[in-house]
């Protein structure tokens, strides 16, 4: 590679690496706290710590409704993330190929769902989905509602990335006989992969974490945050910490294992 990559011995790079470390400490600190208190016997998380216990995990395992809500959340978040990324990509890609006169207006329209307070949006959607579309309160309602604000989100992210993909690449693919879809598959998708991954991850996260709209429209199939929210009426309970800890440890393990094997594959 270039010399730019070899200059890493400079102190500037060391400072930046230290910064990455500190940033991750900051990002992971609350999770560490959550994990610590999930193993603490006290009902209320406050210092000093009490005895070590795994009883919260045991309790958690017995709560079928809670586990059900984890499943619901996974279904919702995965679906929302997928639909949003697809819709967002289609929109962003269309915007790229045609200079819309009212582009700013369109973008404003796309940003609008993010500006409405979730509480109100949830209420409006509840009334709308129930009375106008007579959609029963269900996971479908949650998926629809979350996609409302996740899809524009994905659109903006992907659009920002697509702007950096040179148009001549597309022209070349097209010239070589690639159809629309093939150009997208062979060229656009790989080249804007970081944007797509970011969009998918962020929309997944937003949906997985959203509870107000979900609370309104989820009906009898609460998502995890809704479940947690109702469980927290009397203050947070360590079982909730235990869920947080499990979700985190589980996803982190998957990531590390996946990365290990992917890394092996690319090195080999």
């Amino acid at each position: 590679m270039t010399i730019l990559n070899k200059e890493r011995k400079g102190w500037g790079d060391r400072v930046l690496k230290f910064y990455i470390f500190m940033a991750f400490v900051f990002l992971f600190l609350p999770i560490a706290i959550i994990i610590v208190f999930s193993l603490n016997s006290g009902r209320y998380p406050s210092f000093p710590l009490q005895d070590f216990t795994v009883k919260w995990y045991k309790e958690l395992m017995l709560d079928s409704r809670l586990l059900g809500s984890v499943k619901n959340s996974l279904i919702v978040a995965a679906t929302v993330s997928f639909i949003s990324t697809v819709l967002g990509f289609m929109g962003a890609y269309a915007l790229r190929s045609y200079k819309l006169k009212a582009e700013n207006f369109f973008l404003g329209f796309m940003a609008a769902p993010l500006t409405v307070p979730t509480l109100l949006l949830g209420l409006a959607l509840l009334i709308f989905l129930n009375s106008f579309l007579s959609l029963q309160n269900s996971l479908l309602s949650v998926i629809i509602s979350h996609t409302v604000f996740c899809a524009p989100f994905a659109l903006f992210i992907i659009r920002a990335r697509l702007r950096n993909v040179r148009i001549s690449m597309e022209e070349a693919a097209w010239d070589l006989g690639a159809g629309r879809w093939q150009t997208v598959k062979e060229l656009i998708l790989p080249l804007c992969a970081p944007g797509l991954i970011a969009a998918a991850l962020l929309t997944f996260t937003l949906s997985f974490d959203e509870f107000i709209i979900a609370w309104f429209v989820s009906g009898f199939q609460p998502t995890l945050p809704v479940k947690i929210w109702t469980m927290m009426r009397g203050g947070i309970k360590p079982t909730i910490n235990a869920i947080g800890a499990i979700v985190f440890i589980f996803s982190m393990s998957i990531l590390l294992i996946g990365e290990y094997f992917l890394g092996k594959k690319t090195n080999g």
């Binding site: 910064y19 819309l100 500006t115 307070p117 949006l121 409006a124 945050p225």
Partner: protein
């Protein structure tokens, strides 16, 4: 044979060659989704904001009362300004914190670790927002981790009050929005052709100048989108301002939440929401117009 009129195509950027069928295929699904599942419900809100609530029931009686009410009550405006300030602060903070992080990941970290870091960064946010917020409480409270550590280190004697001030709110905001911002910035920076940095260095730009002249402008699309998101989302959030900020100095969304949750004044809540949405949208569209012209050149390589 193409008719002459179809050649007036200068408005289209590249690919002006393609009639907009494809364009509609791309743009329609998301537009329809938003029109059906967003515009229509919001239209409801809009209509409701011109009605009144009596005895907890909507009364079909057109009125501007909600709006005149809002304009006449200063607490709303104080809260509005506060929301605006907090959101702007959140934008600045998360940008300032995220930028070096994205930069470091894009340009300092070896390529094979980049994906790992990007995904690892988002994982803490798969635990619930509320749990995280309470976690921050534990850290920031008077008898919390932060103050205890400072005490042990003999830096302070009496605890610093952070929890239940908007400093804590910003900590809560920054925690997530910094990651959001980092992801967007990274995805922009990753696309920068490294030759350009060499060229800038060759022409005598130091690392700093190279950064400001090349990397920064080319990462602007990401920064702008990130700022828009952070602004809107922090403006609309009420969890961090309530749980961490303490609610003593309520932000605008807390007022709206109160109207729904505490007092069930749906029409008032709708009116508040309408005001909020409209102002944000106006700011946004004006902002986008300026920004699009600034970053227009960087679109094609």
């Amino acid at each position: 044979m193409p008719d002459q009129s179809s050649f007036k195509i200068e408005k289209m950027v590249k690919f002006r060659n393609f009639p907009p069928i494809r364009f509609f295929v791309g743009i329609l699904p998301i537009s329809l989704w938003e029109i059906i599942f967003f515009m229509l419900p919001v239209l409801l809100i809009f209509i409701v904001s011109f009605l009144i609530v009596k005895e907890l029931r909507l009364v079909f009686q057109w009125t501007l009362a909600n709006y005149t009410d809002i304009f006449s009550k200063t607490p709303y405006w104080v809260a509005y300004v506060r929301s605006f300030r907090l959101a702007l602060t959140a934008v600045v903070l998360s940008a300032v914190l995220a930028y070096p992080l994205a930069y470091a990941i894009a340009f300092v970290v070896p390529a094979r670790f980049r994906r790992l870091l990007m995904v690892a960064m988002i994982l803490p946010f798969w635990t619930n927002y509320l749990i995280r917020a309470y976690s921050w409480q534990i850290i920031l409270a008077n008898n919390g981790l932060f103050n205890e550590i400072l005490k042990v280190l003999n830096i302070i004697e009496t605890p610093i009050s952070i929890l239940y001030t908007h400093v804590a709110t910003e900590v809560g905001f920054t925690h997530f929005y910094m990651v959001l911002m980092t992801m967007l910035l990274y995805s922009s920076m990753d696309a920068i052709n490294r030759n350009l940095m060499e060229a800038a260095r060759d022409l005598g730009a130091g690392k700093l100048r190279t950064f400001f002249e090349i990397i920064f402008p080319l990462s602007l699309p990401g920064l702008i989108v990130g700022s828009i998101f952070v602004f809107i989302m922090s403006f609309g959030d009420f969890v961090a301002p309530s749980i961490l900020g303490g609610g003593k100095k309520p932000v605008f969304t807390q007022m709206v939440v109160d109207e729904i949750q505490g007092t069930v004044n749906l029409s008032m809540a709708s009116a508040l929401a309408v005001i909020m949405v409209v102002t944000i949208l106006i700011v946004l569209i004006l902002f986008l117009r300026r920004v699009e012209s600034i970053t227009a050149g960087s679109s094609t390589g």
